[in-house]
């Protein structure tokens, strides 16, 4: 579902991606950078005090907050940057919402000596100003996008336009498991390192698999990254969407119940849209979860009942962040707080051993926590 100008670049990308996957030198380089630059494997932290508080027997946190730049986004950004360099591209285009993917792309590009341009909505630029500064320090040009709500969707629009204009020299590093093929597959592939590590770690630390695995889901890169490696296991998999501040269209970003199949940004998936097929506005306290479409692979797994999709409201997420801070001394990103918020629900449903994906650190959300929690 991409304009013709991008079809050949997408086909080229798919081929390069397939070849890279089969190339042990690419795999070795990626593995080395993930280990020595990103800080993988990230720890799996047992959270006994929070588990006790919420009525769980065991709770394990997969700590993507400890990666370089502070969120899981770097796994994909770095891998795609390596792929781009391999393809002979000298420029990188990226979009960003909360700024974590933008910062990750900027860092990866500085590391590899690639020129980077990040498109970011003006509203997001204002509320995530520290991430704008981080990108600029890394030598990245941040281009303000004025259109629409001034958030992630418009940034993707503009990044796609920029890529169409420079697809001969530039690679587009999409940050979530969405967009035209092969992006959803590629991003998912580069993020499953999360779940693969977590699965081995929980087996080592607990001696058994948990009875449930839970992660938040915006586009789905974090959700798929953690959950896909557990698809073959007899346990329950949950993805948590942003419930925002109400059930009406425009008040949330819960695509499973609220959306219907549609096409946006080159892929067909569950989409929040009005009756005219225009993309709907969304609302969430978390800038990383307010994308109007669920990534197509995650949507398919949800419709196939392989993954259960729940939602957590703004208020629930804020409350959950406080639990983790006070019980374990870990400040979660607002995105991750949405997954934390569902833990009491899991306990109520009889789950006792939960593995939770902590997708990023909450430093970027400090001002929100301060104002909303009255710190």
């Amino acid at each position: 579902y991409a304009p013709e100008t991008l079809m050949q670049p997408l086909l080229d990308l798919e081929e390069a991606f397939r070849k890279a996957l089969d190339d042990s030198s690419f795999q070795a380089e990626l593995k080395s950078e993930l280990r020595h630059f990103v800080g993988r494997p990230t720890p799996l932290t047992s959270a006994p005090r929070l588990a006790a508080k919420l009525g769980l027997r065991d709770l394990y946190l997969k700590r993507e907050d400890l990666t370089h730049t502070g969120a899981h986004k770097i796994n994909n950004a770095l891998a795609q940057a390596l792929l781009a360099r391999r393809m002979g591209k000298t420029q990188i285009i990226a979009e960003t919402g909360a700024g974590q993917h933008g910062v990750a792309a900027a860092a990866a590009c500085a590391r590899l000596g690639l020129r980077c341009t990040v498109y970011m909505g003006v509203v997001d630029m204002a509320r995530q100003a520290p991430n704008v500064a981080r990108m600029r320090l890394f030598g990245t040009e941040v281009v303000p996008v004025e259109a629409g709500q001034g958030t992630l969707k418009e940034a993707v629009n503009e990044a796609l336009r920029a890529w169409a204009a420079r697809c001969d020299k530039a690679h587009y590093i999409l940050g979530s498991a969405l967009g035209p093929h092969p992006f959803p597959t590629m991003v998912r592939t580069f993020q499953t390192v999360i779940g693969e590590e977590a699965r081995a770690q929980v087996l080592e630390q607990a001696g058994a698999l948990p009875d449930s695995v839970i992660a938040c889901a915006g586009g789905g890169s974090n959700g798929l990254g953690l959950l896909v490696p557990f698809l073959g296991d007899a346990l329950h998999r949950f993805a948590v969407e942003a419930g925002g501040h109400g059930p009406a269209l425009g008040e949330h970003a819960a695509r499973l119940d609220g959306g219907r199949m549609g096409v946006l940004h080159g892929c067909k998936t569950l989409l929040l849209q009005d009756e005219h097929g225009h993309t709907a506005e969304t609302a969430s306290i978390s800038a990383g979860l307010d994308y109007p479409a669920l990534g197509p692979e995650l949507a398919a797994l949800a419709l196939d009942e392989k993954i259960e999709v729940l939602r957590a409201s703004d208020d629930q997420a804020l409350e959950a962040a406080k639990w983790l801070c006070e019980s374990e001394g870990i400040l979660p990103a607002l995105e991750s707080s949405h997954a934390l918020a569902l833990l009491p629900e899991l306990a109520k449903r009889g789950f006792t051993t939960v593995l939770l994906g902590l997708s990023g650190r909450g430093d970027k959300d400090l001002s929100t926590y301060q104002s909303k929690l009255g710190i």
Partner: protein
């Protein structure tokens, strides 16, 4: 061969003025015209058409109201509905065909619908007389172009230009922005395409000054003029006046 393929955004400056505008275009000898369906996320459009779509949506130019406005018009060029896929999918093929029957729309140009993605939907539209116009961009090599033209075939000489042409994207990027494209590579591409197909070609993206339009015509192709026209109409310039400056 058409001298010019104009593009206008439905609902900008207003839906009310659309019938008059189309009648005027026909009176001025315009055989075919692209009409844009305003979309929330026009990823292939530059700032001018983004702004025009945004204005049109604000003024209530929903897909259904656009089609309703076109219903029953006889004084109009053949229309090519320039659109993104999602609004069409939400209407559905059957209902869409029924709606289009009443309008001067003869074909569709769906920016984000590669020929492989919705074969059933596309086949039903084609069978109903609404072919989807193939797009050929600078990244489309000749082999790929051949395939695209085959899979979205020329319905034949007895069909109007609006249903037969292929759209040659003059340069990388989006509609409207940037200076005039370097036409030398466009000339080569047009010649190559003409060597593999005798289909009429339209050339668009970035064309605006009379000289560029003339050069495209000299290649034996129809120049598309979009952003410049949309901007002029929004500024209150009459269609006739605008065309006069471009066609000399």
């Amino acid at each position: 061969m058409n001298k010019l393929l104009p593009f206008i955004m439905a609902g900008d400056p207003s839906l009310e003025s659309l019938p008059r505008l189309l009648a005027e275009a026909k009176a001025l000898g315009i055989e075919a015209l692209e009409i844009g369906l305003p979309h929330s996320d026009p990823i292939a459009d530059g700032p001018v058409l983004q702004a025009a779509a945004h204005r049109a949506i604000q003024r209530g130019a929903t897909p259904l109201r656009v089609v309703e406005t076109l219903a029953g018009l006889t004084e109009s060029p053949d229309l090519i509905l320039f659109t993104y896929l999602n609004p069409l999918l939400q209407i559905g093929a059957e209902r869409l065909i029924g709606l289009l029957r009443l309008t001067p729309v003869k074909a569709l140009l769906v920016v984000d619908l590669p020929d492989s993605e919705e074969p059933e939907f596309e086949a039903r539209l084609r069978a109903a007389g609404y072919p989807i116009i193939p797009l050929l961009s600078p990244t489309t090599d000749l082999d790929r172009a051949k395939g695209l033209l085959e899979r979205r075939p020329d319905p034949g000489g007895d069909h109007p230009f609006a249903q037969r042409f292929a759209y040659v994207v003059a340069r990388l990027g989006v509609t409207g922005t940037g200076g005039a494209p370097d036409l030398a590579p466009v000339r080569e591409r047009v010649a190559a395409l003409q060597s593999i197909s005798d289909r009429p070609l339209a050339v668009g993206f970035g064309l605006s000054d009379p000289q560029a339009l003339a050069e495209v015509r000299a290649m034996g192709a129809t120049p598309v003029i979009g952003s410049a026209l949309v901007q002029a109409l929004a500024a209150g310039v009459a269609l006739e006046t605008f065309l006069h400056t471009r066609l000399g």
